[in-house]
Symmetry: C2
Subunit: 193 residues, 2 copies
């Protein structure tokens, strides 16, 4: 059937971790479950990564890169300033459609609340995510609300975070659409008059 390693163990571990940790809970998921899914042994995991935390951090870094690309694409294919700003919601929809990265709500925020890292590589990914959102939303807000771009960006970020949290809460039923509508209201408030 398959020789030694069609897919290297390191990759299998990362995929398994990504799949389980952010869907079932980081602390709730024992290493054994990741090992079983990856069909790998503890030795392999610990020689490649050193710890469950380090594996988690690497999985988060991959997510971050993929999420950024997904957002890139949606911004590029948007065709006016408002759509470019709201593209973050389309990116979220596309990212969640993609069954490669399932998650209950948001891997980065889940790591923040479950692990509460004050420093270290996990904290770094969270900060990178926040920094990306902040700078990019401000940048995309500028054409719409020059001097109030900061405020508009903050509004869109809150709408985005509210959308993610809605998945956790289970309400409203269509979080992304609701979030997009809310962000659009912010655009209107900061552009007209």
């Amino acid at each position: 059937m398959s020789t030694a390693q069609q897919v290297p163990a390191r990759t299998r571990l990362l995929q398994a971790a990504d799949h389980i940790l952010f869907e079932d809970g980081i602390r709730a998921t024992p290493v054994d479950e990741i090992l079983r899914r990856a069909r790998a042994s503890p030795a392999t995991l610990y020689s490649h990564f050193g710890s469950k935390d380090a594996l988690t951090a690497e999985a988060l870094r991959i997510r971050f890169a993929d999420w950024r690309s997904s957002w890139d694409e949606q911004v590029i294919s948007a065709n006016n300033d408002t759509e470019r700003l709201l593209a973050v919601f389309d990116a979220l929809a596309a990212y969640r459609e993609d069954r490669q990265h399932p998650s209950r709500w948001c891997a980065f925020l889940a790591a923040a609340t479950e692990l509460m890292p004050e420093a270290g590589e996990i904290r770094d990914v969270l900060d990178a995510d926040t920094a990306l959102l902040r700078t990019r939303l401000v940048h995309l807000s500028r054409p719409l609300a020059a001097d109030r771009a900061q405020d508009l960006a903050e509004g869109v970020l809150l709408a985005y975070d509210g959308t993610l949290t809605a998945f956790l809460r289970g309400h409203p039923r269509s979080p992304i659409e609701a979030g997009r509508r809310l962000a659009l209201a912010a655009v209107q408030a900061y552009t007209q008059s």
Copy 2:
């Protein structure tokens, strides 16, 4: 100095649990830390509550009742329809000022993501919180946007959840003010025109 129990052990345990669990993390906090802070013994905790989960659930129920009262007060003291709808943000500010219930972001949402309860008394508190928010926001939206009250309420809920999540993310700096502004934008979008 102090006789037997100035404050009963059961109360001390609940206060300690409330103080630590939602500030430092539910799963991250060992029972021993609650016991130390409450200056209680394991036997006392387990005779009163039966488990860490049951203690957590009771602490959440108390939070829920206090949060609801806080919101009640702010709605009552508001003096027009818009202020009544946005009172949820004033309630949040007041609740967080009150040092009695410290929390990193939101006790209910933290329980949701850390414990992922599919059923049971913890799930019930989370659902009660969501139901309270949903029904009350719809009710308060009706005077402002009769037929679109549902949509407006959804927007305010997302702004509220975004505000809570902003505490977790550490951005923006003043989440409550930003959330209030965003909710106001939703009000404007659903009332004018």
